[in-house]
């Protein structure tokens, strides 16, 4: 599946919900299914502090593809993280750098990536891109 197809798949999954609370119930379910990072392995370097909630992110490069693991203290944030990982995991650094997470806007979750929301997600997307860039210019 291409990265665009993965985004479309998420958009389609949300298309069946027209009620906001149903959308959020689904995001929360996603959040609960995200593996996360064990408490003892969370480090300061991985922490992306938000005003409202905190996010942790790790990444590794394997055979030219990037793999991220992430966690958050708020479950809605974690659910959105789950979707971002679904899209970006297993992609090449070049693809990651070229792909904006447009599905977030399509689903109607733009507010979560707005600088005023301060939940760490915008910084997390930036960190994903930075990691991709660094892996190209180590």
């Amino acid at each position: 599946m291409t990265i665009q197809e993965k985004q479309q798949e998420l958009i389609d999954e949300f298309a069946i919900y027209d009620d906001w609370m149903d959308k959020y119930e689904y995001i929360i379910e996603l959040g609960k299914s995200v593996k996360g990072i064990p408490e003892q392995s969370k480090t300061k370097e991985q922490l992306i502090e938000g005003c409202q909630s905190n996010v942790w992110l790790t990444c590794r490069l394997e055979a030219g593809k990037m793999y991220f693991e992430a966690d958050a203290d708020a479950i809605i944030t974690k659910g959105i993280i789950g979707m971002l990982l679904q899209v970006y995991n297993g992609e090449s650094p070049q693809t990651i750098l070229q792909t904006e997470p447009n599905f977030i806007h399509e689903i109607g979750l733009t507010e979560h990536l707005s600088p005023t929301r301060a939940n760490g997600l915008l910084s997390m997307v930036k960190r994903i891109k930075t990691e991709a860039l660094q892996s190209l210019n180590p």
Binding site: W20, M21, Y24, E25, I28, C51, Q52, S53, D73, A74, I75, I76, T77, N119
Partner: protein, 409 residues
């Protein structure tokens, strides 16, 4: 506007923002601690000013400038009378509470020396902490912090022991924005004055809930923001006793604050303009005057009783929720209900409430040291104004139950 009996339904009619829907749900606005909605009369005043009265003040010989100057200075007098100041010269227009505190920290701070002490409390907003830290760095003063109890009440005994002959200023919140605690400021002011310290009251959360009389309180400074008291953003007030303001050097330089400028030496304008450099927020000041006039038409005792009733009602219901902890249980508190729920993040609760049309505040409320004291990352805060109703609280409670169900399932 004359005084009329308090009717929440009649009052709601005066606030257009309350009549709207968000996400297809009737808006319930419980974020009044952050900012209040504006009555139509304030909106009309702003529109009228920009449409027909706009001119720069204090220096124009033409008609509009004189009209604008009169309106601006009238607003100052309205505020002076509302808070019981002796003279309009004691009312300085600022950008808000934060700006007012920074003005005092800089300008009154210039009169202090190394080793002098500033006393604050553990429940202060960042804006009543950081300006003093900056002052301490600049002048070598020391910042002391009076502790609070787990109920969210000031430890007066501890505060008294921290007061000493080195204490030059006690800067304290009148009402805590996070806990709702109303501090016994009269007692503190008396004690502080006995040892010669001045007292600044952060009134950001008290001006809209209590009848303020600065003469009776005998505070040396009182600060508040226009937008929390049904007026515009970007305008606020510093009240200061005239004899203290006279001794303080100017805060910022520019137009309006000068008497005569030469390259060799500049003399400063008299109060209050000494502290109002540059073109002020004229529309904001006039709009704030209009908001205060609106309050003048209300029976503040009835307003306080209604808000108290709302708080009691909300707390009574929330107290029965398993795993819910109310943060801030002072005996004397205003219409703020801050709480946490076991295993649920305030951000998640706030987001789900928002989607049900309910505006609350979540997070640390710019009081991180206070959150550290309670060992929590933040709270959900519902803060009521006189235009809120018990029916809204019922809807909020149902929405909270639904949110908890979704998060806990």
């Amino acid at each position: 506007m004359g005084s009329y009996p308090f009717s929440v339904h009649a009052i709601r009619e005066l606030f257009p923002a309350l009549r709207q829907q968000v996400y297809g749900k009737q808006l319930i606005y419980f974020d009044n601690g952050a900012t209040s909605q504006k009555p139509q009369v304030v909106l009309d005043t702003l529109k009228q000013y920009y449409a027909l009265e706009n001119a720069n003040i204090h220096r124009g010989v033409h008609y509009l400038s004189q009209q604008a100057t009169t309106a601006y200075e009238q607003a100052r007098r309205t505020i002076q009378n509302y808070i019981g100041a002796k003279s309009p010269d004691e009312i300085i227009f600022t950008k808000g509470t934060t700006d007012a505190i920074n003005l005092v920290a800089f300008s009154f701070g210039e009169l202090l020396k190394a080793g002098d002490e500033i006393l604050i409390t553990a429940m202060e907003h960042h804006s009543n902490i950081v300006p003093w830290q900056l002052l301490c760095e600049r002048k070598g003063c020391l910042l002391k912090v009076a502790p609070i109890s787990k109920k969210g009440e000031l430890d007066l005994e501890a505060l008294n022991t921290l007061l000493n002959e080195r204490t030059k200023l006690v800067a304290i919140t009148h009402i805590s924005n996070t806990l709702g605690t109303i501090n016994p400021v009269e007692q503190i002011i008396q004690k502080a004055h006995q040892i010669g310290a001045k007292v600044l009251l952060d009134g950001a959360q008290s001006i809209q809930h209590l009848q303020i009389d600065v003469k009776q309180l005998d505070c040396d400074f009182y600060c508040f923001s226009g937008h929390k008291v049904f007026g515009p953003t970007g305008i606020g007030v510093l009240y200061g006793k005239e004899e203290i303001l006279e001794k303080m050097p100017p805060y910022q330089g520019g137009g309006d604050m000068i008497a005569k400028v030469t390259f060799e030496r500049t003399t400063y304008n008299t109060l209050p303009l000494k502290f109002e450099a540059g073109t002020p927020h004229i529309a904001g000041a006039i709009g704030l005057g209009s908001a205060i006039e609106f309050l003048n038409g209300l029976d503040m005792a009835a307003v306080a009783a209604h808000e108290h009733e709302l708080t009691k009602y909300a707390q009574g219901i929330l107290d029965t929720f398993e795993g819910l902890h109310i943060i801030g249980e002072a005996k004397n508190k205003t219409s703020v209900v801050s709480f946490t729920i076991d295993d649920m993040h305030p951000f998640d609760l706030g987001t789900l409430l928002d989607k049900q049309g309910i505006a609350v505040r979540t997070g640390h409320h710019c009081t991180q040291p206070l959150m550290d004291f309670f060992e929590i990352p933040g709270t959900v805060r519902a803060s009521f104004a006189f235009y809120n109703t018990k029916q809204e609280i019922d809807t909020f409670v149902a929405a909270l139950e639904r949110s908890m169900q979704i998060l806990g399932a």
